[in-house]
């Protein structure tokens, strides 16, 4: 396999919360707690998990869009977290992000053309005519009509708005794109259009994706490798087919069995692994396995000793004492 384009080691994002009283220390919210992974060129790595597991924070941290990040992120050999602002701005050409909600992530007072051209203005690329041509070409590439360039976001449908977000992310010709739940706000038929567009663009432009989603069927469709996160930790990490055929961690199994199946009342209702309760609080988590409060196979040991991520089969990693 090729060299990794992005290499994340021991990434930690801890947010300081206000002190409950005058004395004592600040409680810490462990949003992401020591995760490591690689993203290889022209591949798609998916991060799945429930809300609050730290998947979006990971996406932001990798791009250094957050301040409180510890650990290391190497992008094509460059240490992203240690970069000076000017060097970081240069590097931003090569790494971009597509946000979840096309209804709120586009400036309502800018035209579609202005939104897509903004990155070119900021990076001072090309003359005004060249910029306009680039924007028009990109507009067509994501499947929009050049006649719509002067329209405002509210004049587009949800799917079209997401196409504008994609165009904005791709206008600088990046290598690496973080897709933060790019289809979860869209209708089914539109979701299929956008997923196909992302796949087509990846092939055409040689893109590398970090694809963040809570929807396992979408991740199954689009990703080459999948990382399952739970409360700031990676619980399982492997390629797509091993994860869906042979999930090792009890959380992955529960997550998979909870996905509603289209085959009426058959597989998932019968051998569902029900998870009770909700995600525990990520504020000052206790020792031991983070999943043990909801785990169907937890033992006494799980509450005391934190399981390490271990390789159980070639490139199939899991963090559980009872694999």
């Amino acid at each position: 396999m090729s060299e990794p384009l992005v290499s994340v080691r021991d990434l930690k994002v801890h947010f300081q919360l206000p002190k409950p009283s005058m004395f004592g220390r600040h409680p810490m919210l462990h949003a992401v707690d020591g995760i490591s992974f690689d993203v290889h060129k022209q591949r798609t790595v998916g991060i799945v998990g429930e809300s609050g597991c730290g998947k979006s924070t990971t996406g932001l941290a990798v791009l250094k869009l957050l301040d409180q990040v510890k650990g290391s992120v190497q992008f094509d050999g460059v240490d992203v977290l240690g970069l000076e602002p000017e060097a970081l701005r240069q590097l931003r050409r090569r790494m971009q992000i597509i946000f979840q909600d096309p209804y709120s992530s586009l400036n309502p007072r800018q035209t579609a053309e202005g939104i897509i051209r903004d990155p070119l203005n900021i990076q001072k690329i090309g003359s005004p005519t060249e910029r306009f041509e680039q924007v028009r070409d990109m507009f067509e590439l994501v499947g929009l009509q050049p006649s719509q360039l002067a329209l405002f976001p509210h004049q587009f449908s949800g799917g079209q708005r997401q196409r504008i977000s994609i165009a904005q992310a791709l206008i600088l010709n990046p290598d690496f794109v973080v897709c933060d739940e790019p289809v979860s706000a869209l209708d089914l038929a539109i979701q299929a259009q956008i997923l196909n567009l992302l796949c087509r663009l990846q092939e055409k432009l040689g893109l590398t994706y970090l694809f963040i989603s809570h929807d396992l069927s979408v991740v199954h469709h689009i990703c080459d490798e999948v990382i399952v996160m739970y409360l700031g930790k990676i619980v399982e990490k492997t390629d797509r087919s091993s994860l869906f055929k042979n999930p090792l961690h009890p959380y992955t199994r529960a997550l998979l069995s909870a996905v509603p199946s289209r085959n009426p009342k058959t597989k998932s209702m019968l051998n569902r692994v029900p998870l009770q309760g909700d995600l525990p609080s990520p504020v000052d988590p206790e020792d031991g396995c983070r999943f043990c409060s909801r785990c169907p196979i937890a033992e006494a040991r799980c509450a005391k000793e934190e399981p390490l991520l271990r390789e159980y089969a070639p490139n199939h990693w899991a963090a559980c004492h009872n694999v």
Partner: protein, 343 residues
Amino acid sequence: MNQAIENSIEPVLDVRSLCVDFDTKRGPVRVLDDISFSLNAGSTLGIVGESGCGKSMTALALMGLVPSPPGRISSGEILLHGENLLEASKKRMRALRGDKISMIFQEPMTSLNPVYTVGNQVAESIIYHQNVTKEEAREQVIELLRSVQIPAPERRIDEYPHQLSGGMRQRVMIAMALACEPLVLIADEPTTALDVTVQAQIFELLLEIQKQRNIAIILITHDMGAIAELADDVVVMYAGHKIEEGSTIEVINDPLHPYTQGLLRCMPDIGEDDSEVRQPLFEIVGNVPDLANRGAGCPFAPRCTARVDECSTLPETQLLKDGRRVKCWRPQSTMPMPEVTAS
């Protein structure tokens, strides 16, 4: 769940040719066009479609909550145990709503009142509809919260919505809807805002409650997976029309309307393709039509790949075998779709 036949032949809820119009500056816009379906006690009907297809409007019409003006129910009948809700007085409707027919709303985060305790909000409809004291109502609420599997209900009853997680809030919403032994429960996207593991918990709760109380459920969703898990029958809607209806297993295994076929094919499904090479998903090209500028023909025709000349006039609903209905000039079976192994 098909205890319907044992209980009664007559359906609990019978909707006949329901039409809803909204008055706009450009004239009336028809948002529901000739919607009919019926529902038996103890069974679940799924209504599925994309946003703007009229599925939530159907729910509001059943509850007598169509915003008016500008909306109005222009024709049709909604029979709840033979009583036409469209002819009921406002007072009668208030008595029925929340008592005999109740609804779970989409977002538990925003549909609970943040300044009242959950106990207060659940007790509200009990006190309104039943002749009970506050203490008796409180006892009932604790029992209700227990029946929707909220741990430590004695404590939770005095908490405010922000102290509960999303799943807990949705359980409170369900408890509110069940407060008065309803005959019909409308669940409008009950799990859209929730994680899959919590969604699975809520689905199981709904199934259990239905079994215990023999309630008829209308499940409104855009998720075919949810329909497959919960619904006995399904109605597929598009642009205000009912375009297909039938038992869930049949519709999913052998969809007849091109829109239903497209909708099923464009969903990524785990376990479908095992190949390392990604197959592109099926796409329904274009967007949902603007209801105000829709032509006279089949509403799906502009996006349909099987379009013929006849499609410029609105198709009649055809009744096929086993109670299946489809609103298409050329319904075509595309068997085989993914096989269902009988359980």
